[in-house]
Symmetry: C2
Subunit: 238 residues, 2 copies
């Protein structure tokens, strides 16, 4: 399982995994049997989103589910389990969703969606967002299904236990000066178009304010650039 660039990765719920077999149903079942036309005896890769990629053989195909054996498995490491990306809802949902997808591909596994003052709120879409996270995880052959939650009040975001890292274009410190320790939670707080308000910056009560670029970036661009740099830097240090 060293070479995982050219495979299809499927997903099944953790509850469907037994000691040496697993059941796959629903959309994933349909994709495996109807789109990819896999048959009994074929081998596939799958994950339950908990950090392990399994490789097994299809043992049986029934009307709405299939059973697959577990021949071998590969345990992955999550280098970013202590980093929580806190994203504002954006005016354009497609830009927000693009940021979610790109962050997942790059290795971010925890998200909080918050209502900052200047964010445009149009209700939660957790189901849709979870689908994007699942697809991006499979697409990028990752095995940690990202977790996303919504916090309607920005004040509640600030109360969460962990270090708050605020990104603001007018900060004096650059993201290169940001030092992260393992074993500590970091909430990376990004503002909406127009940035966090001065009041919100004050509420955060944090001196951890960093800029991501010298020039102005759209909100989702700042988020994606930050994900690219943080995950790349961490990988080099591993």
């Amino acid at each position: 399982m060293e070479f995982l660039s050219d495979i299809e990765l499927y997903y099944t719920l953790p509850a469907w995994l037994k000691t040496d077999t697993a059941v796959i149903e629903g959309e994933e079942f349909k994709h495996i049997t109807r789109v990819m036309r896999h048959q009994i005896g074929d081998t596939i890769y799958f994950t339950t989103g908990m950090g392990i990629i399994y490789y097994g053989e299809i043992l049986s195909i029934e009307k709405e589910l299939l059973t697959v054996s577990v021949i071998k498995h590969h345990v992955c490491k999550n280098n970013f389990s202590n980093i929580i990306f806190c994203l504002p809802k954006l005016k354009h949902p497609d830009r927000f969703e693009f940021a979610l997808e790109k962050c997942t591909e790059l290795g971010i596994t925890r998200f909080v969606v918050h209502n900052s003052l200047r964010a445009i709120s149009k209700g939660e879409k957790l189901e849709r967002w979870n689908k994007i996270l699942l697809t991006a995880m499979k697409q990028s052959l990752r095995s940690f299904l990202p977790v996303i939650e919504a916090i309607t009040d920005y004040k509640d975001l600030i109360k969460l236990a962990g270090e708050k890292i605020i990104f603001d274009q007018n900060a004096e410190q650059s993201i290169d000066e940001l030092i992260l320790n393992q074993g500590k939670n970091y909430y990376f707080i990004f503002g909406p178009e127009g940035g966090l308000s001065q009041e919100e910056l004050n509420e955060a009560g944090s001196n951890n304010i960093f800029k991501i670029a010298e020039n102005r970036l759209r909100s989702e661009t700042a988020v994606i650039k930050c994900a690219a740099i943080i995950t790349h830097k961490a990988l080099r240090e591993v």
Copy 2:
């Protein structure tokens, strides 16, 4: 003009700039006068996309154009004028356009669109792409209007004078090992979904093959991550 985070930046053609005045017409004229409702005596920022941001006062507003004085100007530096991002057309135009927009915001100023074997071609859309580049330049308060051209044959891309840098997930070298010299052109060649074919890799005849990440990335994600890292790294070295 030190603090440029909270302004509107407008564009006018280089030909409309005289020694100490400029004319603005068309869409930009409409935006300034009808959307932003600027009047004679107001000051605005504008650029001709050649690396200078101008600040001036609106001297006159006619039916379809306005004249603005040049009170001062700020000359910008293009650190990436020798880097050409060669992007394949993608199956989903919105993903391709997103990559163009993000790269421009991050500071890339030269693009070539190529038809790699596995790219899905649906004709050129240069007018639409140029509009995206213009909007992204203004949005990110940059003053170099990116240049984009289309090359229909991948072989012609390889013939262009300059170093070819190929990105492939299965490369042994990491992008961190890539060293760029000023004064030399570098063509960064990205593949479509599924990557460049083995034949295309051979045709490039280059040992400059690098990977951008350990895991699989969508084509546009690889492009955006590369832009983020290259522009960030260069900025730190300046």
